[in-house]
Subunit: 246 residues, 2 copies
């Protein structure tokens, strides 16, 4: 308990404990749409369905350490900013046993995302757009395992809530990007077409963008200027985040 005084008649070591896992929502941008990395289940239960990468939290590691370890061991990526999303505790969310899962989200630029997807077997990416449907590249809806569709919904809402005023959008971009790329990220997350001059002004006025003198290569027409993200903005303290929660 950690909090109130232990009731003398309740010894926690005598009772069954739930297992605790972390599930990872790994997000990239593909074809102008939000994309999530999934693993195809090859065993029961839910064989054939697609699941978020995840794993058990060990007794000697924190939740963040567990999330980073799973990311490293199962996807081969590291050093990414993980953000805790929500904790899911329905009793029968996994038919095998009682499992409480802490969901984490991380954003990747297209190159890292592709690297992660290519790192193992049965990995795939799927777009998850505004309607909550998860589809593969061909547009076929993918069935998700367990309550993972719910987790994805929470991730999408979190992104939508934070994109307007936080710096999460840069997580989906490489180090150098154009304003059009940044606008694409915002439009994908919000599922809305944005006004170009207004978006430009808003982003530049914010002071987060550093113009490199360079220009976008391979442009079929007038190349746009490349910018860098300046770095940590007015991030406060605390493990969680303030900010919009509906």
């Amino acid at each position: 308990m950690t909090s109130s005084d232990p009731s003398p008649d309740y010894d926690p070591t005598q009772y069954d404990r739930p297992s605790v896992t972390v599930d990872l929502v790994l997000i990239g941008l593909a074809g102008g749409e939000l994309s999530v990395l999934l693993k195809r289940r090859t065993a029961a239960p839910q064989e054939g369905r697609w699941a978020l990468p995840g794993g058990f939290v060990r007794i000697d590691e924190t939740l963040e350490e567990a999330a980073n370890r799973v990311l490293r061991e199962k996807i081969g990526l590291t050093g990414v900013s993980l953000e805790q999303l929500y904790t899911f505790g329905a009793i029968d969310r996994d038919p095998r046993m009682r499992i409480i899962s802490v969901a984490y989200m991380a954003l990747f630029d297209a190159a890292s995302f592709a690297r992660g997807m290519a790192s193992g077997k049965n990995l795939g990416t799927a777009s998850f757009a505004a309607d909550g449907r998860v589809r593969d590249a061909a547009g076929t809806p993918l069935p998700l395992a367990f309550d993972h569709a719910t987790i994805l919904g929470v991730a999408r809402e979190r992104l939508r809530g934070k994109i307007d005023y936080s710096d999460i959008g840069f997580g989906l971009l490489p180090e150098r990007f154009t304003l059009r790329h940044l606008q694409d990220v915002h439009e994908a997350i919000l599922s809305v077409r944005l006004n170009k001059p207004a978006f430009r002004r808003r982003m530049l006025d914010r002071g987060w963008l550093v113009p490199t003198g360079e220009r976008e290569p391979d442009a079929s027409h007038r190349p746009a200027e490349l910018f860098r993200y300046r770095g940590a903005p007015p991030t406060p303290t605390a493990p969680a985040s303030a900010g919009r929660h509906a």
Copy 2:
């Protein structure tokens, strides 16, 4: 694991599992400041310090059910909207054993808050203002147990992030209230003085307020009109919330 395929060489039932608890951040408004309900610890560890009410999650109840049960059993309150805040998983946050705690927050009007505080021994309330300090009514800083100061910080940031665009503010008010009361709530959460006409317009334009024809009783001068909160606004779906997260 719920998510990826079970590694054949890792049987979760063979490993130690953490205990899982819920901790409750129960918030009211007292003297124009945010106030939290705490319980004084009367046993080791952290004897004498103040802690959030909490308890173990049992194997046959969801996280929400556990939070509601603790609220009912330890504070004698019920039927309150609990919102999941964040999950804390530092390895040594409790010296007795590995405990992962899911924090929930609930808001109360002054009457319910007072009822909760009077429901048991060693209960007290403390203001927690913008500076992160927790003080009793006399202004003396209270030492908090475990990582509960961190949890309170997350709660404060969550409130600050949601107050501007969500309906959480009404949770701290009785059924009927004046615009001044509502403004007091916003000012307490934001630690800012707000402009009266602008606040009025904003709240009324939102369409959430229903004017009762009645007037505030016991006013020493011109009594203000009493309003009711209309009900659930554009709340989307999902267990978590969208919205600002810093």
